[in-house]
Symmetry: C2
Subunit: 352 residues, 2 copies
């Protein structure tokens, strides 16, 4: 791979627009000056921001008239692949101009354009959106799918397990990731037919660089007992949003509680280092950068509300998975899994 990896940036996506995206690019460059960038979007707006950051003055700028908004349907967005800043960034990956694309725009549109332009990897039916979440343990946990696929069958879930394990090994350095399926109970008889079938297929797995540990309930995801949590995109999105919402809910309650009296305010000041530690753990910007796994090309989704630090973290993720050749690793792991897999028994569902 090129010694100076080039990242394609959709400069128009996200709540903060070009100002936040380009501030994030500058921060990413401060951390790793070997990175190079191609910025897609309104050229005048981009150049105005670029003028503030001499360290990324050599970035390429590709003007695009069109911006895909949060209201655009995926079916509309794919027709604007060639004209939009989001589509431009993805096509740069397809054409080999960039090693990865980063966008903070509409997730559904990003997924649709990426899938159509880059195509899924050989042997993968559907790509999945994966992110790292903080835990009480030493390592983050990989969660996928977080919303790319509303309905999934058992084979999709098995593919997500293989891809998630590969991502855990690469991104976190976990030697033998512990993989579980998200369910509403841990007993074998719990959950949907798809989950039971996927569990049966995963239990057949022998050898390989990861292991399947059965089901997990949503309250145990962050305890540090598991490295990869696999779900369909609907459940995964519900779990992720419930976690994010609860973290914000508690932060808001804390603020309210600590401003309720002078004594509490004094306690807060004294405890500031403790809160800083907590807030570092909970700040979603520190975990920004969800990865689309299973495509012939790397695409990273930055949270729409991420600040410049969050955008820089998403760019870090993109650079890291590009350097580590995530796509090849997933291909190898899939082949390994298939070579060891025994054809599963058909589900009993519907027979009873």
């Amino acid at each position: 791979m090129d010694k100076a990896p080039r990242i394609a940036i959709d400069a128009m996506g996200g709540d903060g627009g070009p100002a936040t995206m380009i501030a994030g690019v500058a921060q990413a460059c401060d951390r790793d000056s070997s990175l190079r960038f191609t910025l897609f979007g309104d050229e005048a707006a981009i150049r105005a921001e670029l003028a503030r950051y001499p360290q990324i003055a050599d970035s390429r700028v590709v003007h695009c008239d069109d911006v895909i908004t949060g209201d655009d349907k995926p079916s509309q967005a794919i027709r604007r692949t060639k004209t939009s800043s989001m589509g431009g960034a993805i096509l740069a990956v397809k054409d080999g101009e960039a090693v990865a694309a980063v966008s903070a725009g509409n997730t559904g549109a990003l997924m649709a354009i990426a899938k159509l332009s880059l195509r899924t990897m050989h042997g993968i039916d559907r790509p999945a959106l994966a992110a790292l979440m903080p835990t009480l343990g030493d390592q983050d946990v990989v969660m996928l799918d977080l919303g790319a696929n509303t309905d999934c069958d058992a084979r999709n879930l098995v593919e997500f397990a293989v891809m998630g394990a590969a991502y855990s090994r690469l991104a976190l350095g976990v030697a033998s990731p512990r993989v579980r399926l998200l369910n509403i109970g841990t007993e074998e008889l719990k959950g949907t037919g798809e989950l039971k079938d996927a569990a049966a297929m995963l239990r057949q797995q022998t050898g390989g660089a990861w292991r399947f540990d059965g089901f997990i309930e949503a309250d145990r995801v962050c305890r540090g007992e598991v490295d990869v949590v696999v779900s369909d995109g609907f459940s995964g999105n519900i779990a992720l949003k419930a976690m994010e919402g609860t973290a914000r809910f508690i932060t808001d309650l804390l603020k309210r509680a600590f401003s309720s009296s002078l004594r509490s305010k004094a306690g807060f000041l004294l405890s500031r280092p403790a809160f800083a530690l907590l807030s570092h753990h909970l700040n979603p910007n520190n975990h920004n950068g969800a990865v689309f796994l299973g495509l012939n090309g790397l695409v990273v989704k930055s949270h729409g509300g991420a600040d410049a630090n969050g955008v820089a973290n998403a760019i870090d993720v993109a650079a890291k998975i590009a350097r580590q050749d995530l796509t090849r690793r997933i291909t190898d792991d899939l082949e390994d899994f298939r070579s060891h897999a025994v054809e599963p028994q058909p589900s009993q569902e519907g027979v009873e």
Copy 2:
């Protein structure tokens, strides 16, 4: 209704067994001395605990040899309805001996026994498990279904909406509850076919004592913007557990942060009133008592890990919904909804 409502208690369910359950009964009696109790389970164990609480010495005790455990399948549990403490408590409701049953045992077994013994209300296909969750607003939010039904069709979801609204009005006194369907986006095109169909049916609703506000994402449930959140039991359980797990995760992080230095410890001591406020909000015991809605009889599920205070709260819930005649209120609301409902357009799913 009887001036001294009698509550049937499964004294054997829950992690703490009879000691916790009967301590909870005693606390409930301290709060409301008009309550009477029938206790089901091992008579010797129950009498030993009862001896400690003279205020509930007049409780009836019904000996049952059999205890349903967390490992028992629902299909096994229903065969033991007559012999088990859980089944005994539910049959007491069926026979009119008690106005409501409270159990901290196996949820799936409780659901199966309750459904078979009490039957669903006229016009209700499936019962749902509903609980109150804290919010940033003045009122708790009702969430249902929390795990009684893994798969739900659109009509089930509509019935849950009607039942949840009735529960919100009764339990929380909300005049016109705002009802939403849990989804992975708020746009009309998001989510499963069942959700889209249910939304179409709910939008037809005119008049009535509640209103449908569309979809809600899991991160907005606790913001105080909604009174009833409706989902299938799988998604609802995932959301509930993710919320509980995140609350515990953050509490653990806080403890760790505040014991990280002497300074932080001092800050913690100074801030103790603020933490007490937070912990009151987050302690699941203060929100204990999930209700099975849609049965011809009232059954309340206490959390398996609840302490005596939590059990007392679950008993409070049971007494309250019995006094307010929740079953009749739901029947009236269902009739009202059906009299106003327009037959929905068939789903476009599968046609495209």
